[in-house]
Symmetry: C3
Subunit: 346 residues, 3 copies
């Protein structure tokens, strides 16, 4: 049941101009591409102008100069900084449990399947659903409205935040956290960071295994998702809105930044990093400790790491590495010189 607010209720928090009726009902915020006529959206960067031109949002937070790119069915809401306005509005839909005090370890509105085994110190929030034969280790916390499907095992200290959904037969190792807030902030003119409340969730498909100390953040507006049969080692950081395909294998200490999409059967070596908003094709293999900064459209092995050396040799190579552009220039000059001698000596 999404929370419905009228346009006038919403406008109070940020001002700005928009021709929506004062009592127009809005059920939430959405991206330009997923919004419908019950949603507000925002255009913060010109690289999303194509999405804006096709949006079905009731209204879109935009700068005055971008208002013309919206389709006729979608009204501009003119503001100075659309991203900051979105951050402010995100607080209106932040999650609030029906029963936040959570004095009871197991909320009375939580439902538990048959054969559930609860370790000591388990806490389960309001409206959570725990499937048959689920095993929750000592001190596990399941947030309000979260769903843990049948056959899952969550080991000691695992935290599943509110409304996240874990598919059947998933194994999660100790102290991993699923569904904490994605790292999203808008900067105001004073250089302060304004929180963008993370209104999405996390979906974990069946047969996934997740190691200890992983952080899988909830989506900003859409969801973060792990595909069927994916296997994650320890200490892995998955940013908001990331989508991991089926049967991916991700080694320890990997970080994947927000909104990146991994295809199926992608394998990521330990300590690798993948920047945000990238697409990685099916069956790609990424080498340990590489930084992936560009999308990869074709299967194969990718990477790049400074090679192991004796430290004093590494220092020498690193020093020359700093001079590489000038070294290349010198080689070009030598080639020109040689060419000139050749010409002259004819």
């Amino acid at each position: 049941m999404p929370k419905t607010l009228t346009f006038s209720q919403i406008q109070r928090s940020i001002g700005g101009e928009c021709a929506l009726d004062a009592d127009y009902p809005i059920t939430g915020l959405a991206t330009l591409s997923s919004a419908d006529s019950s949603h507000l959206s925002f255009l913060a960067s010109s690289k999303y102008r194509d999405d804006a031109a096709k949006t079905r949002a009731a209204a879109v937070l935009v700068r005055a100069k971008d208002a013309a790119c919206l389709p006729s069915g979608s009204l501009p809401w003119i503001v100075g900084d659309p991203y900051l306005a979105y951050a402010t509005l995100s607080a209106l839909w932040r999650f609030q449990s029906r029963d936040e005090s959570q004095q009871a370890a197991i909320a009375s509105s939580a439902r538990l399947g048959e054969g559930v085994v609860l370790g000591p110190g388990v806490s389960i929030g309001p409206d959570a659903l725990i499937g048959d034969r689920v095993r929750l280790g000592p001190g596990v916390h399941i947030g309000a409205g979260a769903v843990i499907a049948a056959g899952c095992e969550l080991r000691a200290g695992v935290v599943i935040e509110h409304v996240c959904e874990i598919g059947p037969d998933v194994l999660i190792h100790a102290n991993t956290v699923i569904g904490s807030d994605g790292f999203g902030f808008a900067r105001n003119k004073k250089g302060e960071w304004i929180k963008i409340h993370q209104l999405g969730s996390v979906y974990v498909a069946a047969d996934v295994e997740i190691g200890s100390h992983c952080s899988i953040d909830r989506g900003a507006l859409d969801h973060t998702s792990l595909g069927r049969g994916a296997k994650l080692d320890n200490q892995i950081q998955i940013g908001h809105n990331v989508q991991i395909g089926d049967h991916c294998a991700i080694a320890g200490c990997v970080g994947i930044a927000g909104s990146t999409v991994l295809g199926h059967r992608v394998m990521v070596g330990g300590g690798a990093g993948i920047l945000g908003h990238l697409k990685i094709a099916d069956d790609v293999v990424i080498a340990a400790m590489s930084l992936i900064s560009q999308s990869i459209s074709e299967a194969g092995t990718y990477g790049g790491v400074f090679p192991q050396m004796r430290q004093r040799e590494a220092d020498r190579s690193a020093a020359v590495l700093k001079q590489l552009p000038s070294l290349r220039t010198r080689v070009m000059r030598l080639e020109t010189d040689i060419e000139q001698y050749w010409e002259r000596s004819k």
Copy 2:
């Protein structure tokens, strides 16, 4: 007390051909080098053929083409994919506690020494042994059959999984996890990952200190071990079967992949990564954020990291770095040209 199964009981789960008697008793799986006549082993890669030739295992899962390399005392068990067969069999010996329900915070079969101090919310599994003067912080969980020797201090939220052993006077900081499953999976023909149950454990020697948020995985068949007096900072990932020597010092955010062996007094800088199956000699020093991809046989300092620059200069150097092989070719051609001119000008 290892769990004994007859060959016919075991064969039911994977099929394949082997001349072992139907009622031959098998107590478990072991590596080729550590197996005895009560064990099964497997030969999944030709690089272990030397180990196979000397194994004392009752039988070895092998491809038909590799069967001839086994010694006379060890029978071949012919299967299409020995590693996948091993994964399937590993489930037969997965750990099961005598009393899995663990409703009580402190199991009645756990034994506690004198002067033990338990914080609120501590849970201790069946058959665990807690030595004299051990201090367990709030919410610490000790798994079934684990041993915590005298004088240890485990701070809030630490998890020690089943049958791991922590030596005397060890200090472990908050939320660290010792003994979660190593990252081991075999891939089937559909590209799915089949779990290899991790049947080994973790041994931590005396006087070790381990920071917060470390993940020390249990061994696949043998054990993961930390040597006497080793000191680990925070956020460290230690893969299965890793052996860390005495008095090593490992800085924060380091990852060490499976089966790597560190000698004594090795020092590893923050954020460094060490690939799996390597040997690192005594007294080696590894520089921060380096990737160690090859074994190191001699003491000294090793590393290699792209140097710090202004970003636009780093981008230029990185662009030339991609062209380095062709730049080297151009230098070689210039050298040849110069040589020719020299010859000609004589």
Copy 3:
């Protein structure tokens, strides 16, 4: 109330020569620059001789050869290894709670403000102060003497160690640990590591947000601090004595080594590492997965990462990278040769 010991009580543990009166009262250890006449300090490296010359410590642990650099008001305490002596003395002032047994989940001496919401399994140590409207999630542990200011929210499993102070309206995500011991050890002649008890604390200013699985270590003697409005993503390691300025934004998996100081509004990309004892100027931006090994005195973007390539091309570039110094030498030789031909051909 610092613990006061007489010089003779202290001297018993390490010996060495010093002219302080036997009953001179010492309240603790301090750095050379922050010590006053109630403190002991130490000079372990000649790079701190300038600080030593200005210290106001009652006495300073020094090698005999360095004693002359102390000012007249500060007595030398001659020892063979001042750093090791400091490590030994640090144990004398290690934190000990008034009521260490902590059998009660909420210590009777803890004080809670109005409107505090405690999840199940929360534990609060002796003398802790919990401000108005603070929300502590399930299983949160607050150490002895810690201060959590009004309006904070600490999600499930967060651990705040003893005497750390969290400012108003701070949000900390699940399982993060604040105030575990910094990584400080002195090496004795047998190559063993002697613990330096971490006597400082952590101060977190107002409006900070910290992700899941962060480790923020307590200071060795001074404090570790996070400035107002700073935002930290997940899996971040902050070493002892680090100071983070106001409104910094630090992405996931970053590690910052001990005693480094970040200015205001610094932005650090995911997976980056910053070595210890550096100063980073206001408004610096550090690229993802870069290693910062030198101080930065001017705003701008800094970094450097081996570029992403097809693996076989990366291997080729890495191979040439190892030969870069010789490649440079060959280019220099070519330039000399060309120059000679030019001279000769005139």
